[in-house]
Symmetry: C2
Amino acid sequence: MPIRIGIIGAGSAVFSMRVVGDLIRTKELSGSEVVLMDIDEERLQAVEILANRLIDEFGSDLKFRKTASLEDAVKDSDFVINTALVGGHEYLEKVRVIGEKYGYYRGIDAQEFNMVSDYYTISNFNQLSYFVEVAKMISKLSPHAWLIQAANPVFEGTNLITRIMPDVKVVGFCHGHRGVFDIAKRLGLDISKLDWQVAGFNHAIWLNRFIYNGKDAYHMIEDLRDEHWKPQNPFDDQLSPMAFEMLDFYKMMPIGDTVRNSSWRYHRSFSEKLKWYGWPWGGADSEVGWQWYKEILKSIVNIVESLASFAKSSRDRIFTRENLEKFARGSDFPEEMFDEFFAIVEGKSGEQHIPFIKAITTGKAERLIVNVKNEGAIREIPNDVVVEIPAIVDDKGIHREKIDPPLNERVKKLYLYPRMMRMEMAVRAFLERDMSYIFEMLHRDPRTRSDGQVETVINEIVNLPENKKMREHYDMK
Amino acid sequence: MPIRIGIIGAGSAVFSMRVVGDLIRTKELSGSEVVLMDIDEERLQAVEILANRLIDEFGSDLKFRKTASLEDAVKDSDFVINTALVGGHEYLEKVRVIGEKYGYYRGIDAQEFNMVSDYYTISNFNQLSYFVEVAKMISKLSPHAWLIQAANPVFEGTNLITRIMPDVKVVGFCHGHRGVFDIAKRLGLDISKLDWQVAGFNHAIWLNRFIYNGKDAYHMIEDLRDEHWKPQNPFDDQLSPMAFEMLDFYKMMPIGDTVRNSSWRYHRSFSEKLKWYGWPWGGADSEVGWQWYKEILKSIVNIVESLASFAKSSRDRIFTRENLEKFARGSDFPEEMFDEFFAIVEGKSGEQHIPFIKAITTGKAERLIVNVKNEGAIREIPNDVVVEIPAIVDDKGIHREKIDPPLNERVKKLYLYPRMMRMEMAVRAFLERDMSYIFEMLHRDPRTRSDGQVETVINEIVNLPENKKMREHYDMK
């Protein structure tokens, strides 16, 4: 059943190659066309070369086309995947530096229950604005299309889009729930015999069900406590002291990026981070862990460039483990990350975008972890707030699973509620064009010592040349 | 229709005299008996003397009896009013001093959206425990009786009682909503032509309706902004810069004690408090404002004692404006507070206890502002959380008014939700016998700089001799 998929931000090579890798393995979608869209022509070109090479080497009749035009990527598409990070990591870094100058360690956006350094909620006007632009374009040109929200912040983004464009079919995806599989693997469990659920918000999900062979296996997680635990990389935190500290307090296991999003107490300083997320990085969101990640990103760009120029000059196979390893060795790519990189080639990216597209297109049901409006799935969370929950997807749409057992009160009242409040502030600021929400977020920040500090740091960020549109949106001369 | 009312904590003379004053004016309840209960025999005796003198002077066939036994006050009562503050202001002060020693200005219980110095939410074990003791006693001895919760914290207290003793009929009362009348008076409006509503939680209520002569009059409140505004006393904040600052951000007017309960930003230091609550006190909850209040309380005790001994030795009328003024002049009682004090005699206390009892007993409907389970009154607040809303009360019970227009999203999401979270932590700590909630409240406090600070301050408070029962409850050796 050939369809058309637009990928916005396709210059992000790893993401695009994952999608392409998964697509090649999905025979039901053969004959489909993928429109790769990015404003970075050079990176996009490399992706196009490699995507074409991938289908050559694996034999598939997918078609790729690249474009710099959003309209082009949306028009006639059945699915639009948005993975773009407007302004890139450079902008994030610039804003983080300003925050730290005025006493906000790791930047003003690093806040309780939202410590993830990959995106912003307060200073992210251009990103949120682009989310809306994409949704509006879909509504205008391809109103039947699904918008697949892969770009962060997924939580703020999906809530913004559903409120501003209620007619656009939007679903958010993340792979954070795979933390459940890490736990299962470490316990030596056969995942096919595991009956599990997670629920919450994106990057704020909790293991509510963990049944193995028909028996509750939650207690087995206790066996994974290890006082000699050491992380393999900064993102390796599913079994960190932090995860168990959260389990102890919230009485449910935090899954995936949720572990990064603990309270300010655990992020107060590098030494606190080290204590909870392990030596030597103190987790992904410390100055050291994030530096590591930025270097990985750089290595990936290098690998992708080398691969693309090799592809142009040689007819040798590229997508074999040996050849990929050779390229990785030529860069600073850490060995322990290689498997994840290689998963592209194996078509086992763990991403849910293609399985979702397949289920919707063919009607063959898939169980996925989706970000959709709550509509009663999590009790005491408003119906219109987007939640991350398991669902069965088929050609009739997304069918929410019953969350059973429900999330406990600690998780809901002490974790999801405050996280939801930050989302509300960010989304409402945008919708009401009212910066007072943004000021309020900082006034309630434990790092704030005076009104002047808030005034100064926000002014400096808002007055960055990148934030011209933000100033206009909020009517700040 | 003679009934029996038990007043727990009746040694609080002003409160008791208000109730008695109101009761004397309520002919429908003549022949009723009031059991005054307190463990402070001396103060209770003074109240009994004055209550009897009041009915002598005004002619009424009420009967008063004093007791030191809770059982005695509850048995055969139709209504039990609990106004007791276990440990008194001395305990509050002791705990506040410990808090300040470890960097918690105004004490650990002074937190965002809960700055009121009259009671504690974190360090109030004995108070909460007594609430439960009273409710259990009612359930055992007078299961038909209403428990009227006047003692603070009303919000935490009513939530605790409804969860732990779902069969006890409990209602909470406060007079904070009278801030609406202050506003109306200042605008020169005839209150009988005013159609108004407030909604929220106790000490967290907002003016959602303000219609005068059939027309929306909300905009008139703007006329009360006054840059030369000066408070008459520390509690005079309904028209303070703080109230208007909250109106500006939340887009609804905070009413009564709600103005005291702003965010930490406005309470960071005495100079901030001065700025928002006015010179020279910086509001009731600053070190200066609270000192003023403690002196008032002392004056009242003096006045009550003098009045009581005068009553024993003389047959002159006591409850005339002239005589009361004479007594007040003999103490440090500030002139501007006299009217409130005199209201006792006029039977216009503004308290809702007797109107409630009358409505329930006689079936003559009264409109009151009650603290009862939400049950859908405020959307997006869980059904089982106690809210403060208008209701019609009659012999069939409490009939919640429809909150119209509803509270806006800012008030709900940015104010009520965080306040509710503190209640949840305090109530759940008690119910689950788990101190980790209390620790968590401090870990999330902007004044906390280290784990050790939390550990030390809580240990010192928990180890006070007054907190023996608390240590047992939480199984802390």
